[in-house]
Symmetry: C2
Subunit: 388 residues, 2 copies
């Protein structure tokens, strides 16, 4: 068994929205196809993966460095001991040949897209949903359960724009969501508190509402917000300062009793170790949001989960960033805390397929083999671009 071809396309994200720091209008995503020489129903079994949502496609690194290394590798060196599956860890190592330690940025997304396509391919070879393959691979019992999911968004609406935060969250509630996340830091603290009150009108209580500063705050602002919001009992206070400012996170954690969530902009085990060492994260309370697609794929991500458990954190404290099918399967397969969703935006990658049951704040993967990306109508055109 061998890889016959690896293809990639850059797919622009649709939707023109802004968080506190960046506009997503120019963001795109690398979608990767790994075609095997196994033929079923007259077609080669092919795995698809992508590098998650919210940063950039990595076609340059994939074409210049990663794909040529996989093409040059001995095909047998990429298989597991059975010879019936590709070994994601060996593929990861081959993709990283001659890369230096450190510098976990764009490269981590390029490798992530490829490595996740291997998981999709293996699940299709085994004819099981990816979450079943993932559970078995890591020695866990496959789950049939749903994952907790919450609706993220909570954008800024200028007064008189004809739409409100309350309207936005009410629409999510009508879709079946019971938890919500909103942006903060794009307006004054006083205005953000008004918006939190408005959102609580839909969420019902703080337990159903998280707030996300998108890494915007310096220490003084971080502490001022912490003091101002502490009475709401919010679900969590997310990405308060620069993702590498572990000291800021620690200092907020020392005075803010509610849960803190962070990690979506850490792209390696080494960075996640430093968050656990220096960030003041509290077992049983705080939330880790690292994302396999931006972090070299599931092999590296699973090492992060092992590291968290070794440091006293429960795997249910992991809520991966990026609301999409790949992370749904990872959450169910590894029995993590839950998923996010960004209803209506970040298409064609964001959200779930119609065959995934959504309701009561839960989402359930379908029985499609692999990640089931082919079941998502919005992805049809992008996948068609990868046809041989």
């Amino acid at each position: 068994m061998r890889i016959v071809d690896i293809r990639e396309v850059s797919v622009p994200l649709e939707g023109n929205i802004a968080n506190a720091v960046v506009s997503f209008a120019e963001h795109d995503v690398s979608l990767v196809a790994v075609e095997s020489d196994v033929i079923r129903n007259g077609r080669p079994v092919t795995g698809y993966g992508f590098d998650s949502i919210g940063r950039f496609a990595q076609g340059g690194i994939l074409r210049a460095r990663i794909i040529p290394r996989l093409r040059a590798a001995d095909p047998a060196s990429l298989l597991d001991e059975s010879g019936l599956r590709f070994d994601p860890g060996k593929v990861y190592a081959a993709a990283m040949r001659n890369e230096k330690p450190g510098g976990h940025g764009d490269r981590a997304a390029a490798v992530g897209a490829l490595e996740l396509a291997i998981w999709d391919l293996n699940a299709k070879l085994a004819d099981v949903p990816a979450h079943v393959l993932i559970a078995r691979h890591f020695g866990r019992a496959p789950q049939s359960q749903s994952a907790d999911v919450y609706a993220a968004g909570g954008y800024y609406y200028p007064p008189g724009s004809g739409r409100t935060l309350r309207d936005e969250f009410a629409a999510y509630r009508d879709m079946g969501f019971t938890g919500f996340k909103m942006k903060i830091g794009g307006a004054s603290l006083a205005r953000d508190l008004e918006r939190i009150e408005e959102a609580l009108g839909v969420a019902g209580s703080g337990a159903g509402l998280a707030v996300d500063a998108n890494g915007r705050f310096g220490l003084d602002t971080a502490l001022a917000y912490a003091e101002a919001i502490k009475g709401y009992g919010l679900r969590w206070y997310e990405e308060i300062g620069d993702p590498l400012d572990f000291d800021l996170n620690r200092r907020v954690a020392e005075v803010y009793d509610g849960p803190i969530a962070t990690g979506e902009n850490l792209f390696s085990l080494a960075d996640a170790v430093n968050l656990a060492r220096y960030g003041g994260m509290r077992p049983g309370r705080d939330i880790f949001q690292m994302d396999a697609g931006l972090s070299y794929g599931l092999t590296e991500y699973a090492r992060m989960i092992d590291m968290l458990e070794a440091n006293g954190f429960d795997r249910r404290s992991a809520h991966p960033h990026g609301g999409h099918l790949i992370n749904l399967h990872i959450v169910v397969g590894l029995e993590l805390g839950g998923c996010e969703a960004y209803p209506g935006v970040f298409q064609p990658f964001g959200g779930y397929a119609p065959s995934c049951a959504l309701g009561g704040g839960q989402v359930r993967p379908s029985d499609a083999p692999g990640f089931g990306l082919e079941e998502k109508p919005e992805l049809r055109n992008a996948i068609a671009r990868l046809a041989n």
Copy 2:
């Protein structure tokens, strides 16, 4: 005044050598040209920069993200207050529009190559060597002095290969070098100690010899080497463990009295802050090796130097990674500790121009405007590829 065109080429590094972790045979470098609309002697004044040595060209990120943002920027928004120079900080900010915090890897090199070309362009517009422009920009008195330089290399030679480490270092000594750096960690500790003894035969004393583990060691090996080499009084013990394993660095620093050097694989101010906070680095003793070309350019690098000074470190504790003309000008302009050189390898970028006086362990920039890359014969073909 405006930028008329930005061009980039990927230039392979020549030389087939291996450090403890990676082969450099496949590494390449992005060389960037920024052409202005200022015409002198019938030709547009053009700045050149590159992203240093030892990692990869970043043509994909430059073409997909960085160069389009500069093209889209209002030309006046890229000038300093005088209107006579481009503002490197504004160029840096424009290059990073819509980029998220964190993930300081390949992107940092792409931006670095471009931002350094702006410094070369500004120096040519002012008709001064880049080190003079750099000194003035940061409010320092321009220096005419040389910089300390040492010869790095110290590779592994199989017995019977017909060449030895002693031969290699003797050749560097004959070129005018008085300080040397060798690889460790590619053989057993016992074998590396023999090699250190062999190198000391040329270096004369430990003060002239540094050892570089290239981030290879885990804690046990790091401590075993520290114990074994402590009696030599070596110049420094470099990049002992993973560049992000600040705790390992701290634990070695607690027991190893000699200088420790690290930082070449940290690519942002945020990462350098964490090294200063958590790495156990000792003011007056340890060495920082961050490299502007891999770290968003000189604007970000100068912020790192300010940060080091604010934390009690002397700017002479900075010895940038990457032995080449750009870092020579930065070292002289900012009065840093010194440069490295890799004689004979990493061509066409490595080393200095014939017009740079080298001798007595010192190297002096020439009077050419800018970084003087045009004076380096090995670079002629690469620069010619960037001609309009």
